[in-house]
């Protein structure tokens, strides 16, 4: 698949879920908070396009609202990772080889030793389960990822002539980082952001599946899967559809990330294939 096809296919796939999530803010086919036992386990069709679950809730509505939780968690987590990781990476690169650089990078290694799930377990054990925990856990996990990408990209730029020219012109390291380094690594960050966004969707699903993320009655894809687990023998549809939503959303974002990488940085094209 060429980069352009990947970009469009992935972008369209992701857009479907983004639109569904946005629409769910103002309209869903049925109320997801209302339990309607009389309508429980309706097969797909008629009033319920994808059928209802064991509590009579409309599956399509649940998936739409679930998309909203997933996207919100993953997006804020990417924001946390970028907001803290990028400045750290810039500082490390501007002071490359110094003690500050060493401390930042060793700190990064340390955070890397805490998988998002372990962070979520720790936070939940202390503060109790909530969707905020999932955001924090995934966000903290994202920090060293962005710090590394930023530092790596910035290091190669610091040796270039136009940076030297900027220094000769009297600009300090902070100003050079913001005015010259940051715009030139923006592509890298956008691509990494897409990857972390898709990883965040997967992580959020896993966390809410084990009860460390979104709490009832907020619908989320992971929790829908957890609730469907006992129903898998009788109504497999309840377990298959939310999983399919996760796969398509993540697939779309990954394709988009690959396509973006090719489109934004021709130098990477050779390595990508």
């Amino acid at each position: 698949m060429t980069g352009r096809v990947q970009l469009y296919a992935g972008g369209m796939l992701s857009a479907v879920f983004l639109v569904a999530a946005a629409v769910s803010l103002v309209w869903v086919p049925h109320d997801v908070a209302a339990l309607n036992i009389a309508e429980r386990l309706r097969p797909p069709g008629g009033d319920y396009v994808l059928g209802t679950d064991q509590f009579g809730r409309d599956l399509l509505s649940m998936l739409m609202v679930g998309a909203r939780s997933s996207i919100a968690v993953a997006l804020v987590a990417v924001g946390i990772g970028m907001g803290l990781g990028v400045p750290l990476g810039l500082i490390a690169a501007a002071n490359r080889g110094s003690l500050i650089d060493e401390i930042i990078m060793r700190g990064n290694d340390l955070i890397f030793a805490f998988p998002a799930l372990v962070i979520a377990i720790l936070i939940t054990a202390v503060f109790g389960p909530s969707a905020v925990n999932a955001i924090l856990a995934i966000g903290i996990f994202n920090i060293p990822v962005f710090a590394r990408v930023t530092r790596g990209g910035a290091l190669s730029l610091w040796t270039l002539d136009y940076i030297l020219a900027a220094r000769v012109a009297g600009k300090g390291p902070a100003r050079i980082s913001v005015e010259h380094i940051l715009p030139n690594i923006a592509n890298l960050l956008i691509v990494q952001g897409t990857i972390q966004f898709s990883l965040g969707i997967l992580a959020e699903a896993g966390l809410s599946y084990v009860g460390l993320g979104a709490q009832p009655p907020t619908p989320s894809w992971g929790r829908m899967l957890a609730e469907a687990q006992t129903m898998i023998y009788t109504t497999p549809r309840l377990a298959i559809l939310p999983g399919l939503a996760i796969v398509l959303m993540v697939l779309g974002l990954n394709l988009m990330g690959d396509g973006l990488r090719d489109a934004l940085d021709p130098r990477l094209r050779r390595a990508a294939r």
Binding site: M1, R106, D109, L110, F112, A113, F114, P115, A116, L117, V118, I121, L122, I123, T124, A125, V126, S198, L202, A205, G206, Y209, V210, G211, L225, A228, Q229, I232, Y233, P236, A239, I240, P242, G243, I246, V247, L248, V250, L251, N254, L255, A271, R273
Partner: protein
């Protein structure tokens, strides 16, 4: 190599010390008293006082940290409040499920990823390559716990080849034990294998473009011989690194997958501990997990340096 090993060992010790401080600090920030937190709202004051004594909460923060960390160094992880047994015993009971599961999954990952990546790289640009790349793209997008549910649906519910969950214990014999771990291991392995196969493919393609491969071909080696004798070994270096990084995902995945299959492993232990507010168990098991990740990184670093002398300088 000795200097490198010693330096890495020093940084391993330092990482562990800092990680333990972080975990200790997070558990300590609990608003109010840990003993009251563990016993809940309706606890009798006498019960709280006695638990405070049991947890050694009367000492200073520094004393408590030293006794916790020092205890772990001696293999003493403290006493579980809910189970009334040493945490070390609980962990040992659960590790006999979790460790074989992780090892089983890792083995499957390598057994799938290496040949698949090799096949794709060797036939680069062919229909087989595109098929493999498409399949791995899909594999990366699949959450392992959902894949586990699908496996249960197909192989346990419909075909009835495997049971849907539970673990008979190793007393029941090696084969029943492995059989119970097979679906969980496959569920863990396939998404990981998809990532690793892609790494394997691009590493091999990169290596095949090197001059020494051209020399080997010029010397009269066939393409297959050149891959087998020269390219494969060099391509395995990045594969090894990614495997080291994947370990923490494997660990996290195992904890979640154990819930799908009701396996009595570390994952179940830690989730029960969270609901029962057994902070001693949470604190020690989290430290153990972080220790495992740091240790694997250390081992990969050493293996890496042993294979490639250029990496020893730093």
């Amino acid at each position: 190599m000795l200097r490198f090993t010693l330096l890495r060992l020093l940084s391993l010790g330092l990482s562990l010390a800092v990680a333990s401080l972080v975990i200790f600090a997070v558990i300590e920030v609990i608003p109010g008293d840990p003993a009251a937190f563990m016993l809940g709202l309706n606890a009798e004051p006498e019960a709280v006082a006695s638990l405070r004594r049991e947890l050694g909460l009367s000492g200073s923060l520094a004393d408590r940290y030293i006794s916790w960390a020092g205890g772990m160094l001696r293999g003493d992880f403290g006493q579980s409040y809910t189970y009334r047994v040493p945490v070390a015993d609980l962990v040992a009971q659960r590790l006999v499920v979790s460790l074989p599961l992780a090892a089983y999954a890792l083995t499957l990952t390598v057994l799938i990823a290496v040949p698949v990546g090799l096949a794709a790289a060797a036939r680069r640009g062919s229909a087989a390559d595109y098929g493999i790349m498409g399949a791995t793209q899909l594999g990366i997008a699949v959450p392992n716990f959902w894949f586990a549910m699908l496996l249960v649906l197909v192989f346990a519910v419909n075909l009835r080849w495997f049971s849907a969950g539970g673990f008979p214990g190793w007393e029941a014999g090696l084969f029943p034990g492995l059989k119970a771990l097979t679906l969980p291991a496959v569920a863990l392995a396939l998404p990981q294998a998809a990532i690793l196969a892609r790494v394997m493919r691009s590493a091999l393609i990169e290596t095949l473009g090197q001059d020494y491969i051209r020399s080997a071909r010029a010397k009269g080696l066939s393409r297959a011989q050149a891959i087998r004798r020269h390219a494969l070994r060099n391509a395995l270096i990045p594969v090894l690194t990614i495997m080291g990084l994947q370990f923490s995902f494997l660990l996290a995945g195992a904890i979640i997958i154990e819930n799908v299959f009701f396996l009595p492993g570390l994952g179940r232990l830690i989730f029960q501990a969270i609901t029962q507010r057994d902070l001693v168990v949470v604190e020690s098991v989290v430290m153990l997990l972080v220790f495992a990740v740091i240790l694997v990184t250390f081992v990969v670093d050493l293996a890496y340096a042993a294979v490639d002398p250029r990496l020893r300088r730093r």
